[in-house]
Symmetry: D3
Subunit: 115 residues, 6 copies
């Protein structure tokens, strides 16, 4: 994932989602909806929810999940300082096995910042 | 953990921390400090950080971690609606294996609310 | 969990579910429904689905999940030989860290068999 | 793994297995045998065992394991409806961190179906 | 596990092992043998292997596994300094979710040291 | 990672570390230091610590971590027999989901041995 730029990542994700929806039953489609709804504005703002999703994804070593929430954080105006503090919590909770994912997270953020 | 009240949980935690510190080397003590610092006010407020810690702990199925962050959330004035939304993200990210921990989380919250 | 009999396990589970539902938002309630529906008869019979759920729960070291699916397997007439083969796959996939959970699974099955 | 076709996946797997066997001691070789035997016909048919292996692999986010069991399911005549229900259970148990793996699973199945 | 002394832990373990062997097929029995053999003296001494098993068990948050390897380390003459360094690596690799298990590990070591 | 040679792996790792340090706060930098110190000679020799790190990394399915500790083991003169025994423990503890990582570990070792 290091070398793929974000446009390619999102295009590939969309293509694969189409294949999922070709096969997915009602249950899986409902899960997709639940997953989207979980990050919408509510008692907690979407920005906080995306930071929560980002950190949990890092702690669970899910590269694509990290990249996706990173993009959402960028869109929602998360600052670099806020992002760094959330990723740091993920590192502390999940330990050194999160480091390869943390490296790719900062690389992706660096790419986003450079536009 | 269902039946233990929060006072007992915190006392036991302190007793065990003392045993850790009897044996811990410099590295482990430093990790303890890092762990505390990660949740202090910064670019993100402590409240948001505790919610992040709570959700990641639930997604990783760590009962004591969930209970600890729940207590911190309560102290910092997190509302029930905010708490529920954060725990819901943990459920979606971590799936049904988080449910036993989610049950105990709401039980602990219920106990805290009843005072 | 070793010493609790199954009636107590199920009662405690129900009590905690009530507390979850006292606090749960629409998303969490929908997840609960999705979770139940996933194990209903379909292209695969419920019995096979419960064995799938049991094995995945063992591989993920979720004690309560194992116990719940074990009960469902018992109700649906899974034989001891079928159960043993499913649990064995969980042991092979998840390795020796599943052994404490495997021990409690066989203990619970033994209790169920003795009535 | 998205772009690699199944022939390449299996060839690479065989090449790496040869390197493992160049170095593996008796214990590791025995584990390999145990692993193969676990999925043979017994009280449960091989087809059910492969579906169990597939779901647990998805819930544990193991891409290669998912792809391997998917191939076995295809060989053993698992229907698309059966496959979808098993993968859905994996999604429910393991949560949204399984989604990147679920996408690649359906992509591989789509490739297998197209021949 | 905090309050149970080591004799009780080992007795309970033996009782449950008997139930496992009442039900276990050939594959599971073979896994049990493989598991024991893996920690025998070889190119690496048993002491190093037990420290490896201890650390990996901590990083994977397996309480019983940690306790079992701790006992073996004690029998094989591991020093407190060696034990502390191994546990510290587990904490660094696995992060703060290992802390509840680390607490119980030091408690058990403390009990062993007191005889 | 199968096809990348070790020089490329280490170069890429260094490049990404630079990006991490561009963004990392004091906490993350301290974690980096703690992580390095954990593997230095102490009561346990560095060689044993790298074997511990290797096995725990395999059991946790962290490819880059495995590769890094493998390199350190090679530098510190770990023999093939010692390496094999440590990896075998990782396989037994973590189960068949570690196999894809074990394959790549032996491939990397084979490359190192060929110089």
């Amino acid at each position: 994932m290091v070398d793929k730029d974000i446009t390619i990542f999102m295009e590939e994700r969309e293509e694969l989602n189409e294949i999922v929806f070709k096969y997915a039953g009602r249950g899986t489609k409902r899960f997709w909806n639940l997953d989207s709804s979980a990050y919408e504005d509510g008692a907690l703002p979407a920005k906080v929810k995306e930071l929560i999703g980002l950190t949990a994804s890092l702690a669970l070593c899910c590269d694509e999940c990290v990249k996706y929430h990173l993009l959402q954080c960028h869109k929602l105006g998360v600052s670099t300082a806020e992002l760094e503090e959330a990723l740091h919590i993920g590192l502390i909770i999940g330990g050194s096995i999160t480091i390869p994912h943390l490296r790719r997270a900062f690389k992706a953020w660096d790419d986003l910042k450079k536009g």
